[in-house]
């Protein structure tokens, strides 16, 4: 039995009553129209309905096309097209998108017009006899061949771009590791040696300040810098992400850069792109003072999926160098909870080379 936690008010019953009344009304109209059609003569009634539906189909076509145009007017500005791709590689994705929109748009408009126009034009009429037309090899060859050629063009362009940005990252890329876990992102920089310290997931222990399971016996780990949530990147410099997950599958979704890659437990993946504009420039470009490059988890990962947010702060080389100089390597945090020795921070103050192969 339902346990009613709340007394249902008059309003609720009123709403339900209205819904039931509407249903009954439609039903009564439907029944009445059935009687009318029988009394009037079914054949005659059917022909009248046929005309109405024929008209409605062509009206639907016209209003639908106007609606599509109107929808575009309302929402085009809210898509990512007007602000352009924020990564160099994403430009080719946008180009590919425009080619595809043009091709499919033409096909869409022609076929939908033919569909509804034929329906209207060839609606039942006593004057017309249907044309017995079973096949026509020429026609069929035409609409097998043309789509095949057009699709070949799309495949060729698509794969050309695909191989371009799924190929190896440029040599001067900045290497950054990003690890997903329910429901947050952790980011690691390789430090000045440009090499990440080895990891073993069995060493993971947040209470010992080792949330990523880094093996501290590997000396390469000693200068690695860990930061939560916000990734810093340099404008104009390729970024190569190495992507991990600790628990379930996540996805590094970067809509502004037109990029996306899953984070799979046990199988590291990679993704690279070149940011074109700093976050500050994007605030001006989009006219939105709150603009941020958000990292959206794009693979369902549990009840907090919708809140699994990261951020990429794209900045100039100087700003980046200044920021990273102020960050303390995780090794030092883990080993010495108290203030580290002065010499260490002095060493870190110099701009560090974060490049890698």
């Amino acid at each position: 039995m339902l346990r009613l936690r709340r007394i249902w008010g008059m309003n609720d019953f009123f709403l339900i009553a209205i819904a039931v009344m509407i249903f009954l009304l439609i039903f009564q109209i439907a029944k009445a129209s059935e009687y009318v059609s029988i009394l009037k003569g079914e054949e005659k009634a059917r022909k009248q309905t046929n005309k109405i539906n024929g008209f409605l189909l062509v009206a639907f076509l016209v209003l639908g096309l106007i609606g599509a145009w109107w929808c575009n007017k309302l929402y085009y500005g809210k898509t990512l097209f007007p602000q352009g791709s924020a990564s160099v590689e994403g430009e080719s994705i946008d180009t590919m998108m425009w080619i595809t929109i043009a091709v499919t748009g033409v096909v869409f408009i022609i076929t939908q017009i033919l569909l509804f126009w034929f329906s209207f034009k060839y609606q039942e009429s006593d004057k017309r006899k249907a044309y017995y037309f079973t096949h026509n090899n020429k026609l069929e060859l035409l609409w097998t061949g043309v789509p095949a050629i057009v699709l070949t063009v799309l495949v060729v362009f698509g794969l050309k771009y695909w191989f371009k940005f799924t190929g190896d990252a440029p040599k001067d890329s900045q290497l950054i590791e990003i690890t997903g876990k329910q429901y947050a992102w952790d980011i690691r920089y390789p430090g000045k040696d440009g090499v990440f310290g080895k990891k073993n997931y069995k060493l993971t222990d947040a209470s010992k300040r080792n949330p990523l399971g880094v093996d501290w016996t590997d000396a390469a780990s000693h200068d690695d810098i860990h930061v939560p949530t916000i990734m810093h990147a340099v404008v104009g410099k390729p970024v190569k992400l190495v992507i991990y997950s600790q628990d379930v599958i996540h996805d590094v979704g970067l809509p502004h850069f037109r990029m996306k890659m899953d984070a799979v437990p046990g199988i590291p993946t990679t993704l690279w792109f070149t940011p074109k504009w700093t976050t500050a420039e994007m605030k001006i470009r989009t006219g939105n003072p709150n603009f941020v490059y958000e990292i959206a988890c794009d693979q369902l990962c549990g009840k907090g999926h919708y809140s699994m947010k990261g951020e990429i702060l794209v900045e100039s080389q100087q700003d980046f160098d200044k920021w990273i100089a102020g960050e303390k390597p995780q090794y030092l945090k883990a080993m010495a909870p108290e203030e580290p020795a002065k010499t260490d921070s002095a060493a870190m103050a110099k701009p560090v080379a974060l490049n890698s192969k």
Binding site: H135, W162, P255, K303
Partner: protein, 601 residues
């Protein structure tokens, strides 16, 4: 004059006369309506179970659309029905994901597979090929009861305390493998896997029967190329199911092992809630390969029957032969063959080798060629016809419109270079809802309105049917068309709330609009449900053998055929099923011998 009297005053005696000739073997209520071995009754069992599931699955979408459209509002009445899942009238995130998962599972498998191909394969195959029943009526009955058992287990999972499965209908591990990762991955997930295993048995038993019946039990003269296109479509659907469902079964069983027996097929290097799991060496991607090896053919399992039904209904109501019959069969075959080799296009962003991915791009975009052939052939079928807009015909036209719209966006998503941007956004939600969901449902509605007179010997109410069509047609476009724009803004699917995102919060108004329309469209479906059940008992009675003037065999049976379908001999077939408008005649039944003077085609 009473209502009934008006409706049936034009009635003649044909109905009762037909009854006299049926074979009568002793039938009790149980053997006739429950454990029936009559393919027509089994079809109705599939159909009505499917309709019940469609109401549940549709209702779930209304519930989560309430959250998406009105994230700031509370609906206290929700708490009355859902209790702890909607404390204070706001749907809990965990339950939101359970609703999304169940909506997908129910609609894809229980409604558009069992409800669509289960219903029409059972109902039409023996009637259209000219057989008294399926090759094995007993296996056929078992097939339904496995579906019924699957339904019971899935229904039960809705009521367990930790909730039903909530990892998405694709149930990717490790999320679905670890109870610690999500409360829906506790007992609810085991029930999901057991239910789906039972469902797969249903699909296999049914599929083998459909294939055998079509290959072996066609009546005299019914060569394969004289079969209606519905038969070809259902034949290929069954082949797809028989070859791909077992792969999902193996995937599901391995997942059950990982969940309950400590194996590591899909698990490796996992730390969950601070707990370090011992599993090493497994691959979550393996599951995705196994899943999509069924999952992709599955979308063709849904759409092929709809294509077959649309072809049949369009030809009959255009009073014209289907254009390019052999090309239609060939394109069905091409789609079936390609369906097996495109599954990894769901996995372009999983870290799949890009070179391997490029083959899947090529094969995926190839599917557009047979799809284009079908569309142009449907258009040519309408051209210079003499079209009757029966409710079935309107849904068939709507099907083609949806198939065009949704098919074209497939060209975006199949292209990996675009998929990397559009993957898992609202663009894909719009794409598959239009091309698989709405088009699949339209095919089903076209079939139901068209064959209802054959199923129940009565008509459905036309006015209700037209209202149903127009609201659904307009509503479906209003719901899914603008979603493409959300996708082009990168808005991810399966989010409970967008208000915390600077990149996606500008669509609040649109989301509200979509939710509002979806409630209206759901209500319109209830009109259909009402019309359906009301018409079974009170609809206008069918008084002629062949109300649509169709050439195929099922209309040569009595108005209410008994078990065995034809009272006397099964008729012999002399021609294809599409002689409409030939030599000045409206239609020529398949059973009529080819005349001396008849023109060739």
């Amino acid at each position: 004059m009473s209502n009934e009297a008006i409706l049936h005053s034009h009635q003649t005696g044909t109905h009762d006369a037909a009854h006299a000739h049926e074979h009568h073997h002793h039938e009790t209520f149980i053997t006739k309506y429950v454990f029936s071995q009559d393919h027509k009754m089994i079809a109705k069992q599939f159909l009505i179970t499917g309709i019940i599931w469609a109401i549940i699955g549709g209702l779930f979408s209304v519930l989560f659309r309430l959250q998406l459209g009105y994230p700031e509002s509370t609906f206290p009445w929700l708490e009355d029905f859902l209790g702890g899942w909607a404390k204070g009238g706001k749907i809990d995130p965990e339950f939101y994901y359970a609703l999304v998962t169940m909506h997908g599972t129910i609609l894809v498998f229980f409604v558009l597979t069992a409800g669509l191909s289960g219903t029409f394969s059972n109902f039409l195959i023996p009637l259209q090929v000219g057989a008294r029943d399926m090759a094995s009526p007993f296996l056929n009955m078992l097939s339904y009861w496995f579906f019924f058992a699957a339904s019971i287990v899935m229904l039960a999972s809705l009521f367990v305390q930790t909730g039903p499965a909530s990892g998405g209908w694709t149930i990717y591990p490790p999320l679905s493998a670890l109870g610690e990762a999500s409360s829906g991955s506790k007992i609810g997930m085991d029930l999901w896997l057991i239910s789906m295993s039972l469902f797969i048995i249903n699909a296999l038993l049914g599929g083998l029967n459909y294939i055998t019946t079509i290959l072996n039990m066609r009546t005299k003269g019914m060569s394969m190329t004289r079969m209606p296109l519905t038969m070809w479509a259902l034949f290929f659907t069954a082949i797809l199911g028989v070859l791909s469902f077992p792969v999902l079964l193996s995937g599901a069983i391995l997942l059950l092992f990982d969940r309950n027996l400590g194996t590591s097929f899909y698990l490796s290097d996992i730390v969950i809630n601070g707990k370090i799991l011992p599993n090493e060496g497994g691959s979550p991607i393996l599951f995705q390969h196994l899943f999509w090896f069924l999952g992709h053919p599955e979308v063709y399992i849904i759409i092929l029957p709809a294509m077959g039904i649309a072809s049949e209904v369009m030809s009959i109501n255009s009073r014209k032969p289907i254009f390019g019959y052999m090309a239609m069969v060939g394109s069905l075959f091409a789609i079936t063959a390609l369906a097996f080799v495109v599954w990894a296009h769901h996995m372009f962003v999983t870290g799949l080798n890009p070179f391997l991915g490029s083959f899947f791009v090529l094969l995926t975009l190839l599917i557009a060629v047979p799809s284009a052939i079908k569309v142009f052939n449907w258009l040519t079928t309408l051209w210079r016809g003499n079209i009757r807009f029966t409710p079935g015909m309107l849904f068939a036209i709507g099907f083609v419109s949806m198939f065009i719209s949704g098919g074209l966006t497939g060209i975006f998503l199949g292209n990996s270079a675009l998929d990397i941007h559009l993957h898992d956004t609202y663009f894909i939600v719009a794409h598959f809802h239009i091309v698989m969901g709405v088009a699949g449902m339209f095919g089903m509605f076209a079939g139901l309105y068209h064959w209802f007179p054959k199923m129940y010997g009565r008509y459905m109410n036309n006015t209700l049917a037209y209202i149903h069509f127009w609201i659904t047609m307009i509503g479906a476009y209003l719901i899914f068309w603008p979603m493409h724009y959300e996708g082009l803004a990168g808005m991810p699917r399966r989010y409970y709330d967008f208000s915390g995102w600077e990149s996606f919060n500008m669509f609040a108004g649109l989301n509200q609009f979509i939710s509002f329309v979806s409630i209206i469209v759901f209500a319109a479906q209830l009109l259909f449900v009402f019309n359906f059940f009301y018409s079974i008992f009170k609809g206008r009675k069918v008084t002629t053998l062949n109300p649509w003037g169709a050439a195929s065999l099922e209309w040569t049976t009595p108005i209410r055929p008994g078990h065995g379908n034809w009272p006397g001999e099964i008729p012999e077939v002399h021609r294809w099923a599409y002689d409409y408008g030939k030599d000045g005649r409206d239609y020529i039944s398949q059973t009529e011998p080819v005349g001396e003077q008849e023109s060739k085609h």
